[in-house]
Symmetry: D2
Subunit: 341 residues, 4 copies
């Protein structure tokens, strides 16, 4: 049994994490923080929440927990992470602060000085399926973004195989509204979203782009550039990425290419508890994954183009669920503990 | 041809009004105001908006218009109304500022001093179907609230007939989210609304309660009290009120009561272009009315209780459409002009 | 550890039950049936379903299970129930076949001969909170309907106290679309439902009406008639009933009445794991209950009318969850086993 | 003033057409047909419908109309078209029967013998903006499919310019549920669609693929193949296609390429009343187009990839609205008549 503290429990990700940890058989929740709602029960905000009282971060009993989770905005997470690390705690940061290895890239995309650049090297990028060895020793884990998780799990077996790819990799991604956070904004108003569907950040670049490209290059250094097109779906949760790549294979005819590609994916994921390579002819949908820590992956050829459909629940496998999965690996629990749906 | 100015064009009601007036064959839009967006085209906010540029209220060319519409918050509308009235313009106010006849009632419910109490007596309550005579001479029209319109049109024939009623009148009303305004709030966030359904303001009292009761008493001074229960529906627009009354009729058996009641409604509304009394066995739904200026009314008996279902589009018959309908009557245009769907 | 069989696993209720039983620590799923999909895995229909293969009912290994659940249409459930009962199995029937005590009432409302009238007397109406003693010995449990569960839990403490009530009891209920079943119909087409809100079965009577009235009379034989108005909400799941009653209390002023009523509810439900009486000023919403076995109850006075808001998830507390809760009581498991969210 | 007959008025497209024609100032609706609902008013199905009575097709007074619209299933439309053509009527067919020039291609994709192959050559493909000259003389117009309209309007200026393109053209398209028709099916059930998002027909090929490719080749015979990925959006109406192409331009740097491309689009569409090329930095969304006959087109460069976002209302510009636009051109009315929103 370990004890965990959650900084920033009143956002959608924070609450999902509280919910998961509250039912985890080997975790006790030590504290949940909120600045604006300190002193009130979490159930004031989420009526089904467990009976925890929110405390201000400064008053959180850090010394009584073993691991902390940070569900704070970027730039706010890093200083809290450093305090916890200095106190000897293991830290899983769900913000973007430790995802990018290059300080300059972070500062270019997030428009702030990095608050703790000395920790960048030590941070482990926690795409669990491909980080287990490092996770077991990690002090600081950068939990991947939601879009990156859906795209990277969808691409890894192909990229790791080193097949040359023609033209750009295109990821046409669609996300539910909880990905935009709980703070009310004009573009998350029900009346603006219902019945609508909107691309955003196309071309100019979404902040998840450098994160995805960093990982792509770690698997295939000369991979072609990524075109990333996020869209806002009128659903509360879930991400589906439709990914287009053109593998340059010697074998000419379609059935062989798809067979070879399918073999790569099945080999990569056959023992994975949370990644499902769907049978031939089946495409990934949100219904495969919402309210679960699963990633569903469909593979289809259209001419010489491979179309990968990859779906996750943005709040679970794309955030809180993967954070718990990372914690399980770090601490040595069974990886699926507390995550079966 | 007349010219109209619209104060507050960037809310949902304001925009709906702009849309209706832009296609009205006898109206030219003189100006549309916004404080925060002055200088920008309205289409920056609503991509299908006509090509009007927003101006600050202080710079609106009031002298160039014949009639003004106020889509401003309560307490902000009244001073603008007074300026326009003093300039000799006819004013249709879509806020609550002139709906309540008693200054003290207004101040009790809205928690502010009334900004223009001297105009309360002159204001005509613009439930068009029952205000035509006064409207033709009116300088100042208080456009009814959305909930009140659905409930009052559903009750008037019964109340005007003077039938004694047993027990309270119960209006269980359900409204789409645009009724809560365009300003983003926590409770209008897509993720909070989608998949949810919430009563609010029950018992303690919604601000539309005194407005509805004032009209009820004008038709039947000794009517029983109203129980008004608003609920938030996960749809962009539309209100459905399910109204329960117990008429105390001498005639004992059910078929006669419903026949008599139906006769009252058909007599009241048979020549009304925008109020449809539905045939026996049919209930009102949002599909009857959204995107139109119609009110659909269904009548059903259950034991000795009369159940009235009354549906409107909250932004049209419940706001902008009724405002145009009132303008048509005031100016002497055909009442349906610009309002056929 | 017991073994359970589920007849009719491809409807929304059947699948919810499979999902709950698959994670129940003391239950093993023995079989899941479907006529049209026999031989295929359940995951063909529900992509997140556990790995069970559907079998035709006639081939289900009835002898290998201890308890059976029937998620079959009315009239089809009863014969299957009788076969299982004759084989000595305990039966939880989620259809309407054994809910009404009077065969004639059943035949009048369902327009078929009752297939097994001899079992009506033995069937226990499984509104768990008020049936524990009978459940522990029951061979046959009639699992309550979804609307009845929301309304009856909302009324029981008041009715059981024997307070005289004036005028009818009005239940204005709103249900998500899964309550209409998985078979596609015109009125469940996405385009018909989205953006719409529709009353149905008002006045003429919904089939749940006699079921509710039967229970009401069992608690207060001279209770006034029930007016039951179901509405179709554009959400997948959840029921909210807004219930209006007029208790005839000697004590005149409002604060005392509500205090007294609140006392009744708190006394009735204080030890109940799945029924929450909400604090003063809070109303029940779907967000309190979806994806859980909870019933949330809010209490408000408006004049002399008591407004009870009662919310459940129609598929869980209104069907599959309550069925598992009943099984737990029947078998002697902890009542909340497998039902914590 | 002309008279029009509508075959198949009870589907979503048929009703939208009735609605548009009923308010068209120069059209009188001569008849509306339905086999299953003959004899009943259209308002039984669509509560806001104009007061027309449905007749069986065989009883429709064909001799009293000038033009007929066919909103019938494929293979059923062609024989009706032939009858009307033989009677000297002008025909606008909204089915797929006359869209493909090659009979064999039709038969391969639709799995039926073509009912009227002799008329294929004479049929004009009615993508209005690029068919005006032929439309004015046409007897038979094949109204384009909804997906094709969104994709083709988004591609024409680029393809007509003859710029060489690298790699495939990718159209990642998302459609509202009305595109699947009004007949209830499992995949259009509200509970299956709400909160979900599903690719379908990817790779194996949707029937709109040959229609789109036929037009693409007519503009650029050596254009690369099209990869077409349709997805089902949880909204009632609207299509957004996100289209990826790689123009092989000599000019190297991005600003010039996008500038040149933008010039092509602005030149092509500057006088078009229904096609809007959005300003730089703006992407097309459903909110730009629903309930209108508009097509909104956004242009963005990402590296050397041009991303075209193209949005229409599938029932209007993608079906009934374009049919009316075609009729206006055929008859010589002002092209926008009856289509201003």
């Amino acid at each position: 049994m370990i004890r965990a503290g959650i900084y920033g429990a009143t956002g959608y990700t924070g609450y999902e994490l509280v919910r998961l940890l509250a039912r985890h058989p080997q975790v006790e929740v030590g504290f949940v923080t909120s600045e604006s709602q300190a002193g009130r029960p979490l159930s004031v905000i989420f009526p089904q929440a467990p009976a925890y009282e929110l405390v201000a971060a400064a008053k959180a009993p850090l010394d009584q927990v073993d691991v902390v989770f940070l569900c704070l905005p970027h730039a706010a997470a890093a200083p809290t992470a450093v305090s916890a690390l200095n106190a000897g705690k293991r830290v899983i940061d769900l913000s973007a602060d430790f995802r990018l290895k290059e300080r300059t890239v972070y500062e270019q995309w997030y428009k702030v000085s990095h608050p703790a650049p000395d920790w960048l090297a030590a941070a482990v990028y926690g795409l669990t399926e491909f980080a287990r060895a490092e996770l077991s020793e990690a002090q600081l884990v950068a939990n991947p973004g939601c879009y990156p998780t859906s795209i990277l799990l969808g691409l890894q077996p192909l990229l790791a195989a080193g097949l040359p790819l023609n033209g750009p990799i295109i990821a046409d991604s669609k996300s539910g509204v909880s990905g935009a956070g709980r703070m009310p904004r004009q573009h998350t108003h029900f009346v603006e979203v219902a019945g609508n569907f909107t691309p955003y950040g196309i071309g100019r670049g979404h902040r998840h782009l450098p994160e995805i490209e960093q990982q792509i290059r770690s698997w295939q250094p000369d991979a072609p550039p990524l075109i990333f097109s996020p869209h806002l779906l009128p659903v509360p949760r879930g991400i589906l990425s439709t990914i287009y790549v053109n593998p340059d294979m010697v074998i000419g005819h379609r059935s062989s290419v798809i067979g070879e590609v399918r073999g790569l994916y099945e080999a990569a994921y056959e023992d994975e508890p949370f990644v499902d390579v769907l049978p031939e002819g089946e495409v990934a949908t949100l219904a495969h994954v919402v309210h679960s820590n699963r990633c569903a992956i469909g593979l289809t050829m259209a001419g010489s183009t491979l179309i990968i459909t990859s779906a996750i629940d943005n709040l679970i496998k794309g955030a809180a669920g993967q954070a718990v999965q990372n914690m399980n690996v770090m601490v040595g629990f069974e990886e699926t503990m507390g995550l079966k749906s």
